[in-house]
Symmetry: D2
Subunit: 303 residues, 4 copies
């Protein structure tokens, strides 16, 4: 019984067509389906039917994000553990989402909705499974490999961390502590061997800080930043390295104001990974390793 | 119960001091201990006491490689399953290796020895766990992040693949099949989210093809190749990309003739990863994506 | 009075349409004109009308290469100096080539034909001269910035070197000498601040070894190699570094067997650059820094 | 008669030892000599005795910068042309600077002092001229290849541009014009094939904006930024691309507040390069291609 990966994020967008244009032509995802007010998208290196769902709404933000588990039978066990932890949970019936089976949906202590699911149609990567080339010649835009992680804000980071570690079996790669060591104000959690699959920073409940896409290397981060400038998309944070996770990054905004990240590198984690601690006085360096100071919008622009 | 990672490889070397010089000054590992005819080494980004053991011997090769499991209690369960599969197994007593607890050791259908262990002293990475910098300024040589995988040769790849998948819970990322589809002649297996943790190609039993170290990006592969030339170490395969795993790579030899690899990039895998198949007529492109042909030494130089 | 740069190379190709397809879709040049059996092409970052001319012929090779000088009036002075040196020279009349003015054409001591010209229509780069973006989104294939240099073979390297240095004002960045120091078997010459604009290695007269295109960095060399594999174009030398010039490189062949190179990096030269000497026993390392040995085809495949 | 390159810059620093420590251990230059209140330094890839002179002073800034010409006899001709242009000029006698011959020194219309010189002791690069390796294993810090350019501020950019082009034979690669096209507020000038050797932006006369060092690629820019953070040196502009010159860059400050840049890439220029024009409304994108806005300190921090 194990959670494999962050499988999808459903984002609220205000102008659906403009958003589809952005996520397909600038980010470079592929549209794989539509149903009502929802458009389904995947990155070229993903084999499941979708990893991003755009939902037409009157405000930006994240409807939910979801982890894929190995077997549909695992859902019942998670259901039990999650309810024991005290979270509100419901079943999402088969077919509620295009090309998906049933799921369970619950609300985190931070007010975010998470789903677990196992069944989703497999459409394959753009390069296939028979003598594949390493990348598709017709990739567009930033052309990330896959959805990488989400970063969320919330109030009770200790509790949400405890939930992910004790109930969902995540590890904690890094945490930010107040200088007196009394409060956790940042928590980076992994279920894969990546530096993080979901992370939380202290802030208002139920808000999205950003959804991140994985690119291969720092030259691809540069290419992403170049494309965003050519396409007149606002870049909030130009190419730099994170202290936390060690990854290289840029941040920018989708047409509805949802923050995106193009992220590469970062270390490998395992269940025995010794959690790294950042003290809050070093948080600037932890987040923007070269600037060594936060920027106002990065803390305030949430959706 | 799960296998976390390839934790170590024990290599036979013929001139211990010359080998230590190579693995510390050229590869850039740190010597962490000595005991009798064995020298223990780790990469700067590893937190366990060692990942490479050099054993003075009269011929090169691999004594064994080992996976780290989460809990020492897991060993008994693995012991049972491995014996049920029919492999010969023995307990390695606590302290048989420097700074390690007990282990189980068994022989694969391909004649290689594998160990599972959980207890090893934690010495920490070179960058630490408090407000760490991304890399250590005093790193030497190629300075890989960690031991990445081993590739071995053997006869019965179907059986050894079945063992890893059914008994140890590994996934198979890629396989090479004869053109008639009747025989598996290459098998790439993962327990982490990496493209492979251990792999097998058709060949004589009990032989090592190479032990690989992870570097961050293709410029680090170039730097590695430059350093090897400066240090007059033979490079067998100059910088290129693999078709299989998509990673970037160089191959070279330690002073005893054991092949090493510096490897970066490659995709992410999960338990539901759709296995990629290479047909043997494309094996050249699968292994050396740009050359599209094997080289003789790559198939014959085994230790 | 000065020679600015290598401005063009005219290559003989046997199947014109197949060659145009290769140079436009795989190399990624733009076709800018046709006239009779000649097709004119330029790279996206070049502002003159063409840098490559493909001439339909019954054998591969180089018709000539040409340097652009600053002023058309300079031609007369060069004419005088070249004839004084003893080379056979003729005027090429205005309009002999599409969008070009008159030129002078002469034969090197190595049997190659060189032209000097000043007048050529300016069509501009793909990014323009008003608030330009750094690169064009619609670039295809390898998308080099510009023609970089040619490497030729010939017998009397001392004499051709003397011609370039004394008559055309070139500097010599590197030379390969026999171990006894008696004969020059390689000569690398520059008129710009690049590591070389034209080079010669000992071999049959009047032959082309390769024409090279400039790419920005080693990841672009990797991309070039990937594209060539995807397009099934033979790569002779996979990504590596040269000892000579320090640049990073791949070699491959056009459909007629003319060798091409994608080249990046390399040092800056000036008129006072201290010439680097390679001794012939180190020529392997000088040419292929990582392999440290020549390969047979590299010496024998000439057009 | 031609100017080869920017050969040196003499910077005023307030704490000489602290500055030497910075320029040797963090930038990674080599100290090649001392005399009185001056310390002489060179980059590993430069062959002349020095390219940076640190002069102990009570305020930061640039004493002068200098171009190396080919022959000492050229100085008299430049002297004549410079005086004809109307600039104040004097001879600097042989030996006024360590290991140098005589020079001419004159004041630009912008109040900066420039020297021309030809004679300087040649000490060679760190890699030598016989079968050299591409880079020295013992390089320290950022380890740039060479001094690249200086950017200065001044009032009359038209006049200083005219001086460089008409008297010194420079070309202009880029210029920034007010939106009405009436005034030049930025001017980028080259004598080599680089994108710039000296540049001016509108501002107070006689001030230094920055002195730039050349690194090979964007990963070296990242490494430079990492080292600066490790060494606690303030980074003003984190890794990004310039619109102007297309180069990749970071800006930071020496201990006296003189701004430094680590710069790579950028296009090639020639005497016929079509000058690129930026309109002042796009100056943000021209200078910081990804941020698309100036930052206050970048315009105000001058020395």
């Amino acid at each position: 019984m194990s959670i494999m990966r962050i499988g999808r994020v459903e984002l609220r967008v205000m102008d659906l067509e403009k958003s589809v244009d952005y996520y397909t032509n600038i980010i470079g995802l592929e549209e794989t389906g539509r149903e009502g007010d929802r458009v389904y998208l995947k990155a070229w290196d993903e084999y499941d039917h979708h990893s991003v769902i755009l939902q037409k709404a009157d405000r930006p933000g994240m409807d939910h994000f979801a982890f894929k588990v190995r077997h549909v039978d695992d859902l019942a066990q998670y259901e039990k553990k999650i309810e024991e932890f005290g979270l509100t949970l419901k079943r999402v019936t088969d077919g509620s989402r295009l090309k998906e089976g049933e799921a369970i949906r619950f609300e985190l202590p931070t007010g975010h909705f998470v789903e677990l699911y196992a069944d989703i149609e497999r459409v394959g990567t753009a390069t296939g499974t028979l003598n594949p080339h390493p990348w598709p010649l017709n990739a567009k835009g930033i052309a990330p490999h896959h959805l990488d992680h989400v970063l969320l804000t919330g109030d009770d980071l200790s509790n949400v961390t405890r939930f992910f570690m004790e109930v969902l079996g995540f590890g904690q790669s890094e945490r930010i502590m107040t200088v007196d060591g009394q409060e956790m104000v940042g928590s980076f959690l992994f279920t894969t061997n990546k530096a993080h699959d979901v992370a939380f920073v202290k802030g208002p409940d139920a808000k999205l800080h950003h959804a991140a896409f994985h690119v291969d290397n720092f030259y691809d981060v540069l290419k992403a930043a170049d494309i965003l400038t050519m396409k007149d998309v606002q870049i909030e944070v130009t190419p730099t390295r994170h202290g936390i996770t060690r990854g290289q990054t840029i941040y920018f905004f989708d047409p509805s104001g949802n923050r995106n990240e193009a992220f590469c590198s970062g270390y490998y984690t395992y269940q025995d990974f010794p959690t790294i601690t950042w003290t809050e006085d070093k948080i600037g360096q932890g987040i923007f390793y070269h600037r060594r100071a936060l920027i106002e919008s990065f803390m305030s622009a949430l959706t």
